[in-house]
């Protein structure tokens, strides 16, 4: 035959992958440096399709990187900086050991630093790519900006994170890009639409963290290093698109805020004022007209007309959504989360203020008569001011998610709040839809909330709250009870009848059911004849479907039981009162 002997594992997928240790040796880096490089360059392990082939016949658990990725890392200029840094640390240690303080000073001044600009450009060749990957960056920066200034990581990093996040929030406010907000038990989720890309981030509630010990802060710091660079460039570009100055400056003459100088030093006060989120930003050049460019009307085809119509409606709805709080004046009490609420209200066009002693940037006082809503999170309000609504903070969140100003009655202070639903869930057919969601959908369609049971419930709730015309209600209730009893009797009779051996020929019924049943049986028989592999797949799919239904049913059942329990409780209370 002749020819060279073919050796195993010298071609094919075995040559495309490299284990982590081999990659590290190839790059001549320590594990920590390798890790940092992978994080910065966005290199991740790959799971080969045939692990045993790649692993040269062994089944040991190994992490594989793509050889191309590693070769790509070989040309990275940052690797040299890492080596420089290693040398720097060695020299510094030596100088410390010899107590040569001048040398220490000099070395520290010449500490090697690296820039990540080229990596950002490389990982995100277009701006849209960067926006698509912004979720983690934002969440991480928001988390780091809440860290204490001592301890876990460099102060500069924390300050930078704070600055960048505040800049981003200001951009969202100015561009009115916020779409959805959600109060979860983990934190507050926000969803904004930035240049058509949905961006979701989560901020923790404003409490101090108790730092876990089993978390490697070096890894997080490396990620943050990358994310701050990314966010900085993204912010710059976003500000540019809106014609805003970067670094941001507040609108209005400077000499006006003379009294705030006592509050903080000049360098800090600008960031503080910016982070108050209450004033708008200065533009590079004042636009002549605020009007957005009108969409040109295209002559619609017959087919596309409906689509166009839908799109137009959607656009209009969005415009209305953006101006949700326009014309409203809010005042935040000191017990509500100021930053979150100020951000949300401002990004839907409302005016917001707070107590002057609470934070810098308050624009009007509590006594201002033009305030329309005051956000309160305490049960009692000693002297309510006439002419404004006192609402709990959930009203703002639910209104934003519902895309309309919800009726404020359900959100008065001290009232049992309606459930807060996640705006991120879109129920498909067959999924469980909570009744509150149905109510909201009805409201959105413009219907008044009102199938019979709900109105009854509301009435009874009002009843409890005011203690007004009880007797009428009682009579009503009694009447309904009588009706119920009558119904029950009929039901019982039916039951007892059903137990007796009765011959009821359901001929008509059967005829209607027969084809259906035949069909079902044919299907069952066909399922019997399926091949083993297909049967397995089929069973798996059907199992998943059935599980979904089961879960939905379970939720519905739970809800029903809960509602019944609540009703029974109410009745008992009423009886006790009577």
């Amino acid at each position: 035959m002749g020819g060279l002997e073919k050796k195993k594992y010298e071609r094919g997928s075995a040559t495309n992958y490299i284990t982590r240790n081999k990659a590290r040796k190839k790059l001549q880096l320590s594990l920590a440096d390798f890790r940092r490089l992978c994080i910065l360059k966005g290199i991740y392990p790959h799971e080969p399709k045939h692990k045993k082939k790649v692993n040269k016949g062994s089944t040991a658990a190994r992490t594989f990187y793509l050889l191309k990725d590693i070769k790509f890392l070989l040309h990275e200029p940052i690797v040299n900086k890492f080596r420089d840094y290693k040398v720097f640390v060695r020299k510094l240690r030596k100088a410390y050991g010899k107590s040569e303080w001048n040398t220490v000073e000099r070395l520290k001044d010449n500490k090697p630093v690296y820039k990540l600009d080229h990596i950002i450009k490389e990982r995100y060749p277009t701006f849209i790519d960067a926006l698509r990957d912004l979720d983690d960056a934002l969440s991480m920066c928001f988390l780091f900006s809440t860290f204490p200034r001592t301890g876990k990581c460099h102060v500069q990093t924390i300050q930078l994170c704070r600055r960048l996040t505040v800049e981003f929030l200001n951009y969202i406010i100015t561009s009115r890009a916020l779409r959805k907000v959600f109060l979860s038990i983990k934190g507050i989720y926000y969803q904004a639409e930035v240049l058509g890309q949905p961006v979701v981030w989560i901020t923790p509630y404003a409490f101090s963290h108790n730092h876990p010990t089993d978390v490697d802060y070096r890894v997080m710091a490396t990620f943050t290093e990358f994310y701050t660079t990314l966010l900085g460039f993204v912010n710059f570009r976003l500000y540019q698109t809106l014609n805003l100055q970067y670094p941001p400056k507040l609108e209005g003459p400077k000499d006006k805020d003379g009294d705030d100088e006592a509050y903080a030093m000049d360098s800090e006060s600008s960031l503080e004022k910016l982070s108050a989120l209450s004033a708008s930003l200065a533009r590079v050049m004042v636009p002549v007209t605020e009007e957005e460019a009108e969409m040109d009307e295209f002559p619609a085809d017959g087919e596309n007309a409906e689509q166009e119509e839908g799109l137009r409606k959607e656009r209009e709805a969005q415009d209305r959504h953006k101006r949700l709080f326009e014309g409203l004046k809010f005042f935040l009490n000191r017990e509500v989360p100021r930053e979150a609420l100020a951000f949300i209200i401002r990004s839907f066009g409302g005016d917001v203020s707070w107590d002057r002693s609470l934070c810098i940037g308050a624009t009007y006082d509590e006594k201002e008569p033009s305030i329309t809503h005051q956000i309160v999170d305490r049960p009692l309000q000693p002297t309510p001011v006439i002419g404004r609504c006192y609402v709990q903070p959930q009203w703002v969140f639910d209104s934003v998610n519902g895309r309309l100003r919800l009726p404020v009655e359900d959100y008065f202070p001290g009232v049992l709040l309606p459930p807060h639903l996640s705006p991120f869930v879109t129920e498909k057919e067959g999924d469980y839809v909570p009744p509150e969601k149905l109510k909201l959908l009805a409201l959105q369609r413009g219907e008044t909330p009102g199938n019979a049971t709900e109105s009854e419930e509301e009435e009874s709730e009002e009843d409890e709250g005011e203690g007004g015309d009880e007797e009428e209600e009682e009579e009503d209730e009694e009447g309904s009870e009588k009706e119920d009893e009558a119904k029950l009797k009929v039901m019982e009779e039916q039951r007892t009848l059903g137990k007796k051996p009765q011959v009821t020929m359901g001929t008509l019924d059967k005829r209607r059911q027969l084809p259906q049943e035949e069909e079902n049986e044919a299907k069952r028989l066909a399922i019997m004849t399926m091949r083993k592999r297909e049967k397995y797949l089929y069973d798996k799919i059907m199992y998943g479907k059935r599980r979904k239904v089961r879960e939905a049913n379970k939720l519905a059942q739970k809800r029903k039981a809960h509602d019944e329990a609540v009703k029974a409780e109410k009745k008992k209370k009423k009886k006790a009162q009577a």
């Binding site: 994080i39 001044d109 701006f127 923790p204 999170d377 996640s422 739970k558």
Partner: protein, 622 residues
């Protein structure tokens, strides 16, 4: 010391003296003559005498350089003694004499040296002055500037000013972008709808689960108002886990199976198009008080004979469900078979260790009488051959019950099967040897054991409907024997654990067998010895299978209480494979002692199906 002796010294220099060991001399004198070593012929005795006589013996040593004996002087002895004690060699040396400091630590009023200071220490250095002036000049000119603190605040600019969407640097087609985190659902709300809160049991179950197995990674909670919401303890953890996922988690592109489950179901001809087949239960034959293990339909299709565990054989009228006769037998009826010859009215019943031949006396009188005539026409041969079994005539009392003949085996009989013409009868005996299958000839009352060797325990046997073949099913295989040539024709491998039953297609080219591991195996004898198709329709063990003699139907009864009727069309065209379609699942028998249906059989002419079950009934499906 004499001068001649004193003159002797080492003239060889500093060389190893071993070189001279074998010579009598050591070196040469000035005249070139050898210097001889002193004679060393002294033995131990001489040494001893010297030791005794010579008082200086102890201080005499031999000089290795010259070979002379040297007597040590007193000073030398003292030196040796001092060295031995570890003292200094020099006796006059005092190691402990008092130390005298040259320089004391105390400051003295006078300098140690009285040299006046240099002039240059008072004059400024010219070189340094030059250096300083150069620096000053450089500062003046602005060449040297104070070190500015480094600006560490990052500078941002428009990074994507010239973006090139086609430049995908360093990315390849294997790149898998990181999946986004799942968005929160209603359960994560601080004030979720009440149905999303976990009940007590669910909460306990959640706590007992491994953190990685939990469906929700948090406990849904409800808070009255926003003020009451605490900090989430695992916030940093979750961000950290996300980071780990991003850089440590191997990524793989997986294709999601996006199949409509309806597409997976094979398209079969509609059962409606394959009619007739039995669809509804129309009659129940009640009367037996125990399991009905077996039954048989008469060749005319009017009568039914069933054997049960309650030690009786019952005869039924098919159309009415009436029990016509009950014949008590001495044991459990294992198998029953009606003679297929329509001219003869005879039933073979396997009870305990014997096969009974009954004449039920039903139907056509001529048939019953001709049967009796046939049986009585037998005249024993003059010279009775040795037989493995014993043929016995029935007693008068038994005759009244209809019993005509009794074939006594010495082992329990499991099954009986008639040959198509009705003269031959095969019986299966539960024995370990080769005599498991016995063939009986009715007309000559002769029996023989056709096999010389056993191939495992025989489960059941069946005759080929048209050719002289016998199918023998053992536990794991199915053998086809040619009866005339007396040889093995084929061995079929059903690939199942334990064959339970066997049925032959009326045309004889197809065989089905049921197995206890709930499979029904269809063999096409023309195709191969491997199964043509394995049908796993039943959930439990198959007990019986049957072919319809006319219609393309076959049925299987199982322990799960159901009978499945399938359409099994065999085409005359050899190129077309049989078409097997299940058409009906018949349910009716109730489960009893984990047993469901025990036997199934078709009506000889109608598309009707009989089944017998563990609940003591027979059912007719039409």
């Amino acid at each position: 010391m004499p001068p001649a002796l004193a003159d002797i010294r080492n003239t060889v220099g500093n060389i190893p003296l071993e070189w001279y060991e074998d010579f009598p001399h050591i070196g040469y004198d000035l005249d070139g003559k050898r210097i001889y070593k002193p004679l060393r012929s002294r033995d131990e005795l001489d040494h001893f005498l010297d030791k005794m006589d010579d008082p200086d013996y102890w201080r005499t040593v031999q000089d290795k350089m010259t070979g002379q004996d040297v007597r040590l002087t007193d000073e030398q002895v003292a030196l040796v003694q001092r060295l031995q004690k570890g003292q200094f060699g020099d006796a006059s040396y005092d190691p402990y004499e008092p130390a005298v400091d040259f320089f004391s630590g105390s400051m003295m009023i006078h300098p140690v040296t009285n040299r006046p200071a240099d002039k240059r220490s008072f004059i400024p250095s010219l070189i340094e002055k030059e250096k300083v002036s150069r620096m000053v000049h450089a500062i003046k000119m602005g060449w040297i500037q104070p070190r500015r603190p480094r600006d560490l605040t990052p500078q941002y600019y428009d990074l994507w000013a010239q973006e090139d969407p086609s430049a995908i640097l360093g990315r390849h087609k294997m790149h898998v972008p990181a999946p986004k985190l799942a968005l929160p659902g209603h359960a994560e709300s601080y004030n979720p709808p009440p149905e999303y809160l976990l009940s007590e049991e669910e909460r306990l179950a959640w706590e007992q689960q491994e953190p990685s197995e939990r469906k929700l990674n948090f406990l849904p909670q409800q808070f009255r108002c926003l003020r009451a919401v605490p900090a989430y303890g695992r916030f940093i953890h979750e961000r950290f886990e996300r980071c780990l996922d991003l850089y440590l988690c191997p990524r793989q592109r997986k294709m999601r199976v996006n199949v409509d489950p309806e597409d997976l179901i094979p398209k079969l001809p509609k059962p409606r198009d394959l009619q007739p087949f039995p669809t509804v239960q129309s009659l129940v034959y009640q009367g037996h008080s125990d399991l009905v293990r077996c039954f048989s339909v008469s060749p005319s299709g009017h009568w039914l004979a069933s054997g049960s565990d309650d030690h009786s054989v019952r005869l039924w009228e098919v159309n009415t469900g009436r029990c016509l006769k009950t014949i008590p037998v001495s044991g459990v009826v294992k198998s029953i078979a009606w003679n297929p010859n329509p001219a003869i009215c005879l039933i073979a019943v396997a009870v305990a260790e014997s096969v009974l031949l009954l004449n039920p006396g039903l139907g056509d009188l001529s048939a019953t009488s001709s049967t009796d005539q046939l049986l009585s026409a037998f005249s024993p041969p003059e010279e009775p051959a040795r037989q493995p079994v014993e043929w016995q005539e029935a007693s008068a009392e038994e005759h009244g019950h209809g019993l005509r003949l009794r074939i006594c085996h010495n082992k329990p009989v499991k099954q009986v099967a008639w040959h198509g013409r009705g003269d031959y009868l095969a019986s299966v005996v539960a024995a370990a040897e080769h005599t498991q299958v016995l063939m009986h000839q009715l007309s000559r009352r002769r029996s023989q054991s056709p096999f010389r060797r056993s191939h495992g325990q025989v489960q059941c046997v069946a005759f080929h409907p048209s050719r002289p073949f016998l199918f023998v099913a053992s536990q794991r295989s199915l053998r086809l024997y040619h009866l005339l040539r007396q040889e093995l024709t084929k061995k079929l491998m059903p690939n199942c654990k334990w064959v339970s039953s066997l049925a032959v297609h009326p045309q004889g080219d197809n065989v089905i067998c049921g197995s206890y591991d709930s499979k029904l195996i269809w063999f096409d004898l023309d195709l191969s010895t491997k199964p043509y198709k394995v049908l796993r329709h039943h959930k439990k063990a198959l007990r019986a299978v049957a072919f319809h003699p006319r219609y393309p139907l076959f049925a299987s009864g199982s322990d799960d209480g159901s009978v499945i009727v399938c359409h099994g069309m065999v085409y005359n065209d050899l190129l077309q494979n049989p078409l097997l379609v299940p058409v009906k699942v018949l349910k009716g028998h109730t489960m009893h002692r984990d047993l469901g249906v025990l036997d199934v059989s078709f009506h000889p002419t109608q598309p009707w199906l009989f089944s017998s079950g563990a609940d003591g009934t027979l059912r007719l499906f039409t």
